[in-house]
Amino acid sequence: MDKVQNNRAWFLVLPVLVLVAFSAVIPLMTVVNYSLQDTFGNNVFFWEGLGWFEDVLTSSRVHAAFGRQLAFSAIILAIQIPLGIAIALCMPKRGVWASVCLVLMALPLLIPWNVVGTIWQILGRTDIGLLGYALEGLGITWNYARNPVHAWITVVVMDVWHWTSLVALLAYAGLQSIPQAYYQAAKIDQASRWKVFRYIELPKMQGVLLIAILLRFMDSFMIYTEPFVVTGGGPGSSTSFLSIDLVKTALGQFDLGPAAAFSIMYFLVILLVSWVFYTVMTNLDKAEGR
């Protein structure tokens, strides 16, 4: 329903617009500016056109980072979404234990990124870390600093530990909103546990799961701090995800032009993928209703 028109409302939005301009639009324009020019320092710039974009698009290093990034996000989603749902299904629905579980589940979410990285970095070490030591005892020499597979497993496990709670909490909220009558009806219909999940719980959780997938995708696509703390993007460049690669380019090598072009494309990719995700999922919803 549209409301009675009142143009005074725009004045109330003004402060936010100013804030957004300073915090987002102006920095973004600076990046656009860098991405189209070259410099040899001393604030002397040359027009470069779309040259940097071409370089980035054809760079095999960027391609490799992009591939790693996609693989990482895909693995994360494939583990965290089902695991989160499973945890939510196992959590008690009410009573004291429900609150206890909620608090426990929320704990990992409260820890800052770099601390998470440090925790796992230490945990995985064979000399002082419990995990590394235990694996050593099992005959596996855990070395995420040398072995790319170990590095990947460490980073993935760390992310799963850190963020599955979010999916679980969202899924839990979705489950809690299902009226008891549905479960009673399903019982009377003699639906199996799987069918209850497939035809009641999953459809009712669809909305929150969409949000969970979007959040987890965007977040994992931009992951930086944790792998940087644990592996520094190594060994070699085996855990150099897009943002790590970007920072290496921009700060490590001071190639501001390519880094700017890179980050603009990075931004566009996230925007695009999120948009595709969102429209596909919501259209799916509408098409079913027809």
Binding site: M1, D2, K3, V4, Q5, N6
Partner: protein, 362 residues
């Protein structure tokens, strides 16, 4: 004091929710919007309140154009189907809240709150919180809050729909009394014909975004202007059958004919829809210009004092409501009688051609 809707319409997402509507509601009247769900009752109320802006047309309040005015600046009170109160406040504070916003003095608030509570029988509960009250009391609290404002326009959107049957009956009997004491314009939306009749006043029957008829409630009930109004304002629904008039006889169903008596005598030859209410069907001849029909009895429902007959007549589904308890065999043929004075004749397109003669005589 009056509220005038002048060609008001509402379009939302390219779909017309309210077709251009003219309506004049006078000071001190009870006006019932009667129609099924989604017929546009709530939309029309939101337009009256100023919660929505109309697509076309003007809204006049006391002859002033208030079309663009915000709801906060109008003197409007609204009560909803859900019991909406401030849960953390006592009943007293709930009722007092609109007055506090208006900056009324403490002493004045106290007298007005107590008056409203007296009227709504809430005096013993003034210190309780809404959730400690029964549904009926909660809705009384919401009504008291609406009344205490002294608003010139009070909108009630199916206020009794969520209440138990008997509570509904009690509040329904009280609302006209409350309304008489307030002197405001009341607008009351309901889906139930019986409720409209009990409330009295005026009724606007609504169907698919249109006000099909507006007038004093008993008059609209007895003299509906078209078949749609008749159907909306009848519970159980009005029965219809196709009749063909030729000369001094009418034929209906499968080859049944009857003399064209009463109002039917004056009709031009042609095909019509005849409509009659369930309570005008009888199981025995009543004298007068009686029509009788051969039907098949599908089901009966007994209320204790009356019997509902679900009949099939030449493919039409009819309902009859007769006095007394009748144990009849399902699926059996049955004869029912109808006084021609109780028959409304509609053109095939739906407009009224001849009203039932009993209704115009009364």
């Amino acid at each position: 004091m009056s509220l005038v809707l002048d060609g008001v319409s509402k379009v939302y997402d390219g779909k017309t929710h309210i077709y251009p509507t003219d309506l004049t509601l006078e000071r001190g009247t009870m006006n019932v919007l009667l129609g099924p769900t989604l017929s546009g009752k709530t939309t029309l109320m939101r337009l009256m309140a100023g919660l929505d802006a109309p697509a076309t047309g003007r809204i006049l309040w006391e002859d002033k154009d208030v079309t663009g005015m915000r709801v906060q600046d109008r003197k409007v009170a609204m009560v909803y189907q859900q019991f909406i109160n401030y849960p953390s406040m006592t009943v007293y504070d709930n009722i007092a809240s609109p007055l506090r916003l208006m900056g009324v003095s403490k002493a004045e608030i106290d007298t007005r709150v107590r008056e409203a509570a007296e009227l709504m029988k809430l005096v013993p509960f003034l210190d309780r919180r809404p959730l400690e009250l029964s549904g009926g009391q909660q809705q009384r609290c919401a009504l008291a809050r609406a009344l205490v404002k002294g608003a010139g326009l009070v909108l009630l959107d199916e206020p009794l729909a969520n209440l138990d049957y008997k509570l509904r009956e009690e509040l329904r009997a009280e609302i006209p009394r409350i309304f008489e004491e307030s002197g405001a314009i009341f607008v009351y939306a309901t889906t139930e014909p019986e409720e409209a009749l009990l409330l009295g006043g005026n009724v606007a029957t609504m169907w698919e975004g249109r006000v099909t008829q507006f007038g004093p409630t008993p008059q609209v009930y007895r003299q509906p202007g078209d078949a749609v109004t008749a159907r909306v304002f009848s519970d159980p629904p009005m029965n219809f059958t196709r009749i063909v008039k030729a000369g001094d006889r009418i034929s209906f169903g499968e080859g049944q004919t009857a003399p064209a008596a009463g109002a039917l005598a004056d009709l031009a030859d042609g095909t019509y829809q005849a409509g009659f209410r369930p309570d005008h069907l009888h199981l025995a001849a009543q004298g007068g210009d009686g029509l009788h029909f051969q039907c098949r009895l599908k089901v009966t429902e007994i209320t204790g004092s009356e019997t509902f007959l679900h009949l099939e007549h030449a493919g039409d589904h009819w309902v009859g409501l007769v006095h007394g308890v009748h144990e009849l065999e399902f699926g059996a043929p049955i004869e029912v009688w109808l006084d021609a004075a109780h028959v409304y004749v509609f053109a095939e397109a739906g407009d009224l051609v001849a009203p039932a003669s009993y209704a115009t005589a009364a």
